[in-house]
Structure formats: structure tokens, C-alpha cells
């Protein structure tokens, strides 16, 4: 079988380091990824969201050169994922929440292992290992057994190992799941710092707390991109309606009553209150007040609140999910 040389000059790509054109992946009759198009700029922190089974992992596998597209194409760091998968793999870093680290090895042993896996030339090894320790702020911890590191430190070690070969593009899968908020903030500072130096960061996550750290987000659902924009653009434009916070008594009856109220798209319990999606907040609020009190429910407050990314996500996916799973 003909193999192309690993280190070739990438094709010039202007400022886009991931370009996806009409990318399709079929498994038998099932279309997992259905003609998606995306352009991700150099130095961008890009978030890729979607429910389980939406085509997220399939897309990532294609972008990492692990799965050949059925049609269309994608270039990552200038290399075509279908024709030059090995060059793609040499030019990316991948870090998953399920750590790729060996827990029973020392910090330094994990780093050396990854230097070997990525074939870092021997004359650069020492310098890259030093850089990784420095970047992950793990100087002085070289001989610690990885398993004994606190969560946030492990996360930084995993990131260090994923980028020690200086890839221009890195893929992060739920990188800060379970980490305490302070370590998480520090981790994202590190990511943004790398992005400022021109590294392109492609993040997949279920957690909207992580999505907020991305410059732009795409939502994939049933193999298609259904929304694309900055976090605030998505919150402003993508909701099918407006969000209300309703405090009333008794809560249990109120959900049922409100689910069939005119103008209400969705009603759900949220802590000690209700979240309501309505077509238009201004007209809905007075109508809901009388609607609830007519049914002898006590209204304490109704106010319009800004949607979270999770609200946007749920609204976009259930709107397209015509009744199959949404009305469970």
C-alpha cells in the first residue's frame, strides 16, 4: 500500500485551520454526518455540541484522521483527512476527559511516553519535556505517581502530553469535567493563552459551563449543524421563544396547568420555581397571571430571564425532534 511521507508542507489555508466542506459519513443506510460545513479560524476556541448519537464523535473521528469520510472533505492544519490521515494525526493533539494518562506511571514517565509516541526527535526531546512541565505547571512534581495528583493537575498533565509535539490544532473532549471551578478557570486560561499564540482549539462537550469558554459554538443534531454562533448570539437568536421564571404555589399542579396554557411552548420544574418557554414574554406575563389565579394557583412572581446555553440547546434539539422523545 502506498503511504505518503508524514511531514509534508501543508496546503496554504489562509487563516482557517479546520475547513469542512459537505462532509458526509454513512454507516450502511444510516447517515451519521449529513453534509456539514464549517470553517474554524486559526487561534479560535471552537465548541462542538450535540446530544449523544447526534454525529459528534463521528465528526471528530473523521477530523482526527481515524475514520474516512463517505463524501465531502475536511482539511485540518492544511491536510486532507481522507487522503492524508497520518499527516493529520501528526499535526493534532487530542485530550479526553477519560484521561489517556497511565495512572501508575510517574508524571515524567507519562511525558516521556508521549514524547516517544509522537516521535519527537531526540535532539528536541529534552526541550519539549521541559516546556511541557513548565506549561502544565508541574515543575517539581516530576516523580509523583500520576494517580496521586489532584484532578486539576492531572488535567493539566493530560493537556501537556497532548500538546508536547506543538500541534497547530488540538481536540479536547469534556476537558474539565469534574474539576473544581478554580482549576477549571485556570485550565481555560491556559487554553485561551495557547489560542492567543495561534493554536486552534476544537472542544466537544455536554457541559454548558465549558461551552461558555468557546469563542464560537456549533450544535450538531441528527447529523446536521442546526446552530452556529458565539455563545451570546445563540442565546439571543436561537431560542424558539422567550424564557420566564415563574414562582407559584403549588408547584406540582402549576406544571400540568401551564403545559396546556395558551402560548406556552414548554414548562418544566426548575428547583423551587418553573421555567417556561413562551412565544412572547410581554404579552404572556399578564395572561399567565390571570390564567394561574383563575385556576386557584398563587403566583408569587413571573419574570423574564436570559436563557442559558442549556436552554438554547434543549430548545433547538426538541424543536426538531417532532414529538419522538421530547414529550416523554
Amino acid at each position: 500500500m502506498f503511504r505518503e511521507p508524514l511531514l509534508r508542507e501543508p496546503m496554504p489555508d489562509d487563516n482557517n485551520s479546520v475547513v469542512i466542506e459537505d462532509l458526509v459519513k454513512r454507516f450502511g443506510d444510516f447517515v451519521a454526518v449529513d453534509r456539514i460545513n464549517l470553517e474554524i479560524r486559526k487561534g479560535e476556541v471552537f465548541g462542538f455540541l450535540g446530544p449523544n448519537g447526534a454525529g459528534k464523535s463521528t465528526t471528530i473521528r473523521m477530523l482526527c484522521g481515524l475514520l474516512t469520510p463517505s463524501s465531502g472533505r475536511a482539511r485540518v492544519a492544511g491536510f486532507d483527512v481522507g487522503r492524508e490521515p497520518e499527516s493529520v494525526r501528526q499535526n493534532i493533539g487530542y485530550m479526553s476527559q477519560k484521561f489517556s494518562l497511565y495512572n501508575d506511571l510517574k508524571v515524567i514517565e507519562n511525558i516521556r511516553l508521549f514524547a516517544g509516541l509522537y516521535s519527537v526527535p531526540s535532539n528536541q526531546r529534552r526541550e519539549r519535556i521541559e516546556w511541557t512541565l513548565e506549561m502544565a505547571n508541574l515543575k517539581g512534581q516530576e516523580n509523583q505517581i500520576t494517580a496521586t495528583l489532584p484532578g486539576g493537575w492531572k488535567q493539566r498533565l493530560a493537556l501537556g502530553c497532548a500538546v508536547l509535539h506543538k500541534p497547530p490544532v488540538i481536540f479536547l473532549d469534556e476537558p474539565t469535567s469534574g474539576v473544581d471551578p478554580i482549576s477549571r478557570r485556570q485550565f481555560w486560561d491556559l487554553i485561551h493563552h495557547m489560542a492567543e499564540e495561534g493554536v486552534t482549539v476544537f472542544v466537544t462537550t455536554h457541559y454548558m459551563e465549558e461551552a461558555e469558554y468557546c469563542n464560537r459554538l456549533a450544535l450538531i443534531f441528527r447529523g446536521e449543524i442546526v446552530a452556529l454562533g458565539t455563545p451570546s448570539e445563540l442565546k439571543r437568536k436561537s431560542m424558539k421563544g422567550e424564557l420566564l421564571l415563574v414562582e407559584c404555589e403549588p408547584l406540582g399542579n402549576a406544571v400540568e396547568v401551564l403545559q396546556s396554557a395558551p402560548g406556552v411552548i414548554d414548562a418544566a420544574v426548575f428547583g423551587n420555581a418553573l421555567h417556561l418557554v413562551v412565544r412572547d414574554a410581554a404579552t404572556a406575563i399578564p395572561r399567565l397571571r390571570s390564567y394561574l389565579s383563575d385556576r386557584s394557583l398563587t403566583v408569587r412572581s413571573i419574570e423574564k430571564i436570559p436563557p442559558t446555553l442549556e436552554d438554547v440547546f434543549v430548545s433547538l434539539t426538541t424543536a426538531r425532534d417532532s414529538g419522538k422523545e421530547s414529550k416523554a
Binding site: 446530544p51 448519537g53 505547571n137 469534574g178 473544581d180 486560561d189 451570546s232 418544566a268 442549556e310 434543549v314
Partner: protein
């Protein structure tokens, strides 16, 4: 809410240490019937250890745990009939179908056949999983597996359920379904203790205990927790978030500043005072930005404020 004769779950001075680490440090809280109580904190905060002690799986070094009125240490069998514990990796049999898994747990808990059918139909309905009864558990999505685990844990109608990070790895739509089931159980009077590492998920609970390194930081309802911060939180969006940060990072009055994807999340001493100051500063530096908005604090803001920024590991 139902009359509160006794706490459905009561932890008094629970303490547990492992070699070299004090995992849970004099933890006390109570949960009443119908309440959804969140045990919230990062990995290693002591959530799982606390749940194990409450479930009677691990004896505490000190303190007592009672569930539905039974002292877990003295009367473990009494407690076990009233409670259900769903660990992070719930033991589903991947090569059994959804129905078969439920039946297995029904037998394990000694649920009578007649009752079992009615209960499992009701649970599958509530979970939106009726059409999946014949599917192998191993072929379910992550969210569905978690729901099935919960259904199996509920088959014997426990009065108290203990859930260890039930929504980890579950997408937002399935997570919402999962919470819908919890709210339904709560309205039936079941006491629910659930742990999560996600501070935004904590907002769904009726009451929350914030844990850090085995200690209780705060315990209150989400709105009261947010009110505790006592500082202003500002949200500023910009097409050039990095320039925005460079301008404001050393401004006076800021106690925390986070660069997000399209702006900044800033905690300040006095919002009314700082908003015009920041606006003037950004305008004179010609940094594009949208209006500076004061927003409701998050539980994360409170956590970070309480724990402090700790040892700085920021790499410049």
C-alpha cells in the same frame, strides 16, 4: 410539603479518613421528605464517601447517619428497605434487555410480581422508555442507561434515594428528562440526595450543600446561596474578548475576572460604581464591547469567592 416528623436523611458529624486524607470532615445536614438535596463539589470533595456512609456501605470513623428514621450503623437492614443507592457505575447487565434488568432488580428487592408489572410500566412511561423495553441495556445511549439505572433503583418504591453523579456524561436533553423524573418523585414525597460536580446543575436542587475538601462550605437554597456573595457580577460581551481582558484585568475593584468565549465574567465590589468606570476605560481604549450588564451571581461565583484563588498556577 408534608408534615415533617423526622428527617428522611440525617447526617450528624459524619467523618471519614483514608490514609493521608481526611475525606469527610464533621459533615452535618438533614433532608426532609419530598426534598431534592444537592451534594455539590468537585472531584475529591467527599461526595461519594458521604453517600457511601449514608447508604450503609462504609462505616464512618465518627458521627451518625440515619435514613428514614433508621440508624444506618445500628439497623442497616431497616434502613436498606427504605433506601436506594445508585452509585456512579450502576450495575446494569448489558446483555440483558431493559425489561430483564428491571425484573432482576425487582427480584433482588423482593417486589411482588403483580406490583412489579404496574410499577415498571409506570416508571418506563415516566422515563419515556416504553418503546425500548426489549432493547439490550448495552445498546442504550449514555443518558438512557442512566435513566434505566434509576428505574431499577426505584422499583421497590424507596422513601429515600441516594444518587452519585447521576448525570455525568449525559447530554442536556436527557439530563432534563432525568430531572423531570426526580421532580415527580419529590412530589410523591421521596427524599432525594444527589451529588454533582456541576455547579450549574445545583440550581435545580431545592437545597444545596457546597462541599470542598470534605468540609461543608455552605448549605442553603440556590437563591439564598447567591445572595450570600454580597458582590456585584458583571457580564460584558465583546467581539474582541482578549483585548477586553487586557484592559480590565488590573482595574480597581475586581475580585475575580474570567475570560469566556465572547466576553468577560467579572466579580466586583460595587457594580453601580464600577460599570461607568469600566465603560469609560474601554471607550478611551477603543475596545468594542456591548453594554455592561449586571447579572445574577452563579453558585460557581460563590464557590470561587469562598475558596479563594488558592495557589496561583497561571502561566504567563
Amino acid at each position: 410539603m408534608t408534615e415533617r416528623l423526622q428527617s428522611a436523611i440525617l447526617a450528624e458529624g459524619l467523618t471519614k479518613s483514608f490514609p493521608g486524607i481526611l475525606a469527610v470532615d464533621h459533615l452535618s445536614f438533614d433532608v426532609s421528605s419530598g426534598e431534592i438535596f444537592g451534594l455539590v463539589g468537585p472531584d475529591g470533595a467527599g461526595k461519594t464517601t458521604t453517600l457511601r456512609m449514608l447508604a450503609g456501605i462504609m462505616p464512618p470513623d465518627a458521627g451518625t447517619a440515619s435514613v428514614a428514621g433508621f440508624n444506618v450503623a445500628h439497623d442497616p437492614e431497616g434502613a436498606k428497605h427504605q433506601l436506594s443507592y445508585m452509585p456512579q457505575r450502576f450495575g446494569l447487565y448489558e446483555d440483558l434487555t431493559v425489561d430483564e434488568n428491571i425484573r432482576f432488580y425487582a427480584d433482588l428487592f423482593g417486589v411482588r410480581k403483580a406490583e412489579r408489572e404496574e410499577r415498571s410500566t409506570q416508571l418506563l412511561q415516566a422515563a419515556g422508555m416504553r418503546e425500548f423495553r426489549k432493547r439490550l441495556a448495552g445498546k442504550l445511549s449514555g443518558g438512557m442507561k442512566q435513566k434505566l439505572g434509576l428505574l431499577c433503583a426505584l422499583i421497590h418504591r424507596p422513601k429515600v434515594i441516594l444518587l452519585d453523579e447521576p448525570t455525568t456524561g449525559v447530554d442536556p436533553v436527557s439530563r432534563r428528562d432525568f430531572w423531570r423524573i426526580l421532580y415527580e418523585l419529590s412530589s410523591e414525597g421521596v427524599a432525594i440526595l444527589t451529588s454533582t460536580a456541576y455547579l450549574d446543575e445545583a440550581e435545580r436542587c431545592h437545597r444545596v450543600a457546597l462541599l470542598h475538601q470534605g468540609k461543608l462550605l455552605f448549605c442553603d437554597t440556590p437563591p439564598s446561596l447567591k445572595a450570600k456573595l454580597g458582590k456585584g457580577v458583571l457580564s460584558i460581551t465583546s467581539s474582541e474578548p482578549r483585548r477586553l481582558r487586557d484592559q480590565l484585568e488590573h482595574a480597581v475593584g475586581i475580585s475575580s475576572l474570567v475570560l469566556t468565549g465572547d466576553g468577560l465574567h467579572v466579580v466586583v465590589d460595587d457594580a453601580a460604581l464600577r460599570i461607568p468606570e469600566f465603560e469609560a476605560r474601554l471607550n478611551s481604549a477603543h475596545v468594542p464591547f456591548s453594554a455592561i450588564q449586571q447579572v445574577t451571581p452563579t453558585i460557581e461565583d460563590l464557590f470561587v469567592d469562598a475558596v479563594g484563588s488558592g495557589a496561583s498556577v497561571y502561566v504567563s
